[in-house]
Symmetry: C2
Subunit: 362 residues, 2 copies
């Protein structure tokens, strides 16, 4: 379009404005929302997801819909995001469902639970395997509309001051461990602690805890664990693929025009896609730096893996006896996982295994 034509068209726009404008004004109201996160700003993987949501929603709506992000502790502590959204202190939150297993153990299924799903399976179970419908029953009880938002990928098993070779070595270990896993490792004699990320390092340094897991190399490096607990265990069998969630106060969600609901859903999912890609790009060089800084990589022994698996299945059976939603979620996830790994062992695992063998040979 030439400049003159553009000016004419703009003029035409002005002339017809009186009719068209109310519909536009109604569908793009000016909103200022607050989003509180479970993360400090220093964790740019997780908090970066919040920043992306704010920025992208503003871009799409010409700054009409503004979402201001707050780090853990600025409005509420990192482990109280659900409460803040539930009671309307903020309109939105970004958190991990499993921080709220104290309210209902079913929340574990939103994020990850021991020997659950890997990251792609967790996303697909929630989207297409009936997961989000079951989780909605739970989130609605807490006035939340929940949208899956990013994943960390399979995590590490954490940092220990001493080597853990046998089940006996786990006995009495005070460990920061996320979500539902605490209940499982307690069966193995571990004393679990749930701490927000900012509180982990001081506790480990003071000796209040003996071990700590957070996520994986990139985040763990920022939190500095290698300096005080050098044995770095894998795999984090309690988080094969930990999924975050964006929570939106359900009354606020229902008040949104449909187009803003569509904006939020699309942008939140986009942010999730970016989050795991960022983890996947940042974890490998971080692992190399940690190894250079003295981290000692150790695999959990088969004895520990097997006993943990058994403890997890016992825990699920116990809770299922009294918690019907937990039972439904566990049955849904377990059935999904059985089929998902039937497929995974045919195409994904042989490809990855072959590539890993070639890597170490060339």
């Amino acid at each position: 379009m030439k400049r003159r034509e553009f000016l004419q068209a703009a003029g035409l726009g002005l002339a017809t404005t009186a009719v068209a404008a109310p519909a536009i004004a109604q569908s793009m109201p000016e909103l200022k929302w607050r989003l509180t996160a479970s993360w400090p700003k220093s964790l740019d993987t997780l908090y970066g997801t919040v920043e992306h949501i704010s920025k992208r929603v503003a871009e799409i709506t010409d700054n009409k819909f503004q979402i201001q992000g707050f780090a853990a502790g600025e409005i509420v502590p990192g482990l109280q995001v659900l409460d803040a959204v539930q009671n309307g202190t903020v309109e939105m939150g970004h958190t991990a469902g499993y921080y709220y297993v104290g309210k209902d153990p079913s929340f574990a299924f939103a994020t990850a639970l021991p020997f659950g799903l890997n990251s792609r399976q967790q996303e697909s179970w929630q989207q297409f395997g009936g997961g989000i419908e079951l989780l909605d029953e739970l989130f609605k009880q807490y006035n939340c509309h929940a949208i899956p938002t990013g994943n960390t990928g399979a995590q590490m098993g954490g940092w220990f001051r001493t080597e853990i070779k046998t089940l006996h070595d786990l006995n009495g270990i005070k460990m920061r461990i996320g979500g539902f896993a605490g209940r499982v490792v307690a069966k193995l004699g571990v004393v679990p602690q749930q701490l927000a990320p900012g509180d982990i390092y001081p506790s480990l340094e003071k000796g209040t805890i003996d071990a700590a897991e957070w996520v994986g190399p990139y985040d763990d490096e920022k939190l500095g664990f290698v300096k005080i607990a050098r044995y770095y265990y894998y795999p984090g069998w309690w988080e094969g693929g930990a999924q975050g969630h964006t929570l939106i106060n359900i009354a606020k969600w229902n008040e949104l025009p449909k187009n803003y609901q569509a904006v939020l859903t699309a942008v939140i999912r986009e942010a999730g896609l970016i989050q795991i890609a960022k983890y996947d790009a940042q974890n490998p060089p971080a692992m190399k730096r940690l190894l250079a800084a003295g981290a000692q990589l150790r695999a959990f022994s088969p004895e520990i893996m097997e006993a943990s698996y058994k403890a997890a299945q016992e825990t699920y059976a116990e809770i299922s006896q009294t918690n019907p939603l937990f039972k439904k979620l566990n049955e849904s996830m377990s059935a999904y996982r059985g089929d998902a790994y039937l497929w995974w062992q045919i195409a994904e695992l042989p490809f990855d295994s072959f590539m890993i063998r070639q890597r170490t040979r060339t």
Copy 2:
């Protein structure tokens, strides 16, 4: 807001409209675009991505930005999407970059190439590992702005009429095989064919080809291959994670208001997230159905895997001698892969391997 207040606010909106409206009109122009895809509508995984983009963009923009999708053959054949976007026949396309390796073998890196990256690595290399910047050099030569859009996950190695046990058995096999892999398998004596999905079954049925690979169980079941070639090989080592791309004519992209560019980027990435989740949900039950229908699962032998790997590396070295962009892409991807699999073997692979072992034991 109560009804009376709302009406007052709406009235206020009317009064101030004359000033505000031109900005809105300018940032949300009415647009009707056409998107041509490489897929038939029957492949609801891939074509579903197109439908999602159309629907979501319309929802967000109150139908002001309309994108009409067309299946392969409706405007141009499935393997000419790049050309149609390049010359402005359509504004957008959804395709696989590696269909255009005849124009430049560097296009293979957009999608997948033999012994390349898995799906998460491919996404993260493009987003954060320098991949998309290098690919942009290529796509810009063809007047395209390219956005990564979804992945199939690791694919299967295709359907063969007869068992392929040794390298000798591959000699002279006429095979439909996607993208760049044809050049590699040609070194092993295979006669490669590039066919759009709708043309594969008839060719296999008539005996024009002896074998065919498409994607994986869910799509392959729709295309009906099990009826005429029952040996189903894995893994599809030439597509560890095949990434699709949305192409936008670059002049059309540059004309878009910034907010529409943001809408498209967010929605296209969201569609990508949905696509792989759908594959991951649909492939496992499809595999079970295919096995029930008589598919005979076979792994490629170590001899074939090793010879294919060697043939791939030779091919990359040959092309790198005369194609500087291919060389840069190969160096970037290879370095990324080395680190990515160092990490993958620590957390992801041991988790998946353990879960697969438990699955077959319980």
